[in-house]
């Protein structure tokens, strides 16, 4: 066996990939060749150091969710809408309408649909180059950017001092309407804050829901609907919403 051959085969020896006959041949060469013996020792040492090092990456939760979202549902539950369609076939629908149940069912269904649109918009934004239309950590740059693009510009509040960095803004579409998205980062995690106008001025307290592995906290305030979506934990997202609400109140009153 030549040294050239041995320098290739010693790796197969290290990896336990040689049959007994070839292993003996390589070992016999190494026993009589200091150069190849030193190479084997050095490679064994490197393999040891590598084995002690974490060289693997963990797929981000958002990637897992994106892939999950692209798979067909394991068992497709009939949606409220298709249940309603089933009702509509029969005569029960008029009775239901009379009791107002149809309206309630539809409203919940709409909220679920909008929530899923919000999460989809969040997912889209995570794709390369889709996160922001205007990139700035300065609220006085981001806020005017929305003017004229939307009926009502979303409140843009810098929360960097509170641990949530403003990174920019974007126009998005939810429920077939253009809405503003204000983008924040917490460490490497993106938070999209979607803001849309609503006819209702009542205060709706924040509520967290989970969809496709993302936390979504939504609330209503001063004629605006808010959805904050991120893969950060529910408690951190609640903290974000608290900080945002406190700062918004201060802005309005100050």
């Amino acid at each position: 066996m030549t040294c050239d051959e041995a320098r290739i085969l010693l790796h197969a020896l290290l990896d336990n990939e040689l049959d007994a006959g070839h292993a003996r041949e390589v070992e016999a060469h190494i026993a009589g060749c200091p150069g190849c013996a030193a190479e084997l020792a050095a490679q064994r040492e490197m393999q040891r150091v590598l084995a002690d090092t974490n060289l693997r990456y963990t797929a981000p939760a958002s990637l897992r969710a994106r892939i999950e979202a692209s798979l067909p549902e394991p068992q497709r539950q009939p949606s409220r809408r298709s249940v309603l369609r089933g009702f509509a076939m029969g005569s029960a629908v008029s009775a239901l309408a009379a009791t107002g149940i149809v309206a309630i069912v539809l409203r919940q269904d709409d909220q679920q649909r909008i929530l899923s649109e919000v999460v989809s918009a969040h997912l889209r934004s995570l794709q390369a180059g889709h996160l922001t239309d205007v990139i700035s950590t300065d609220q006085h740059t981001v806020k005017p950017w929305f003017n004229g693009k939307l009926d009502v510009a979303p409140p843009v509040i810098d929360l960097t001092a509170q641990g949530f960095t403003l990174v920019g803004g974007r126009l998005d579409y939810i429920d077939a309407r253009a809405i503003g998205a204000v983008v924040y980062k917490r460490r490497q995690h993106v938070i999209n804050l979607f803001v849309s106008q609503t006819s209702s001025t009542e205060h709706r307290p924040p509520k967290t829901q989970t969809m496709q592995g993302f936390n979504c906290r939504r609330w209503g305030e001063r004629g605006l609907n808010f959805w904050a979506v991120s893969d950060i934990g529910a408690d951190e997202l609640a903290e974000f919403v608290d900080k945002f609400e406190t700062a918004m109140k201060a802005n309005v009153e100050g």
């Binding site: 320098r7 790796h11 990896d15 490679q43 974490n54 990637l63 979202a69």
Partner: protein
């Protein structure tokens, strides 16, 4: 949009077979593409293609099969990055000419590699030329057997062996060179 006409049972089988390997596939993508967001896009595309071809899947093992699909996706990405060299299929130039081994003047004692932080070692691996890098990552990080690597990259086992030997020699040379500089 999820393909609604698909058999839910197929989706369930695919999920159980393919999703446990997500970290492995993502790890390979990170090393091949050297960019987190490109890697995410490639892995997502890989899983979409895998689902599409899942009906005709008869083996090899799931992990090498996913890796083979990911390689194709990454090759397409390399083709798209026209300004970046070294597509996986390219015959490497300078790296191929580097001898697998060089006699070192240092004695074996002084050659003992110092432990480095994972980030520094990942960078050294990322910087390896193809096709040595993919061979190295498939073996050393993804724990594929030589036969599985051969199936994944579509090369004979002898080629896998010589690429792996060269990959390790290149890595060790880069590693010791960095330590020399650090002195």
């Amino acid at each position: 949009m999820p393909p609604t006409s698909d058999d839910p049972d197929k989706a369930r089988r695919f999920r159980e077979a393919a999703l446990p390997h997500l970290d492995d596939v993502y790890t390979l993508a990170r090393y091949l593409l050297r960019d987190a967001s490109d890697a995410e896009d490639a892995v997502q595309e890989c899983y979409l293609r895998a689902l599409k071809h899942f009906d005709s899947y008869r083996g090899p093992a799931m992990k090498p099969w996913l890796f083979a699909i990911l390689r194709n996706v990454c090759n397409a990405e390399y083709a798209r990055r026209a300004h970046r060299p070294s597509a996986l299929e390219d015959t490497p130039g300078a790296a191929e000419q580097t001898p697998i081994w060089q006699e070192s003047e240092a004695s074996p004692e002084t050659e003992v590699l110092r432990s480095r932080d994972a980030g520094a070692i990942r960078k050294l691996i990322e910087a390896l030329a193809e096709p040595f890098k993919e061979t190295f990552v498939l073996r050393e990080i993804n724990n594929l057997s030589y036969r599985e690597i051969a199936e994944t990259v579509g090369a004979p086992i002898g080629t896998v062996m010589s690429r792996l030997a060269r990959a390790r020699a290149l890595l060790r040379a880069a590693w010791t060179a960095e330590e020399e500089q650090a002195k």
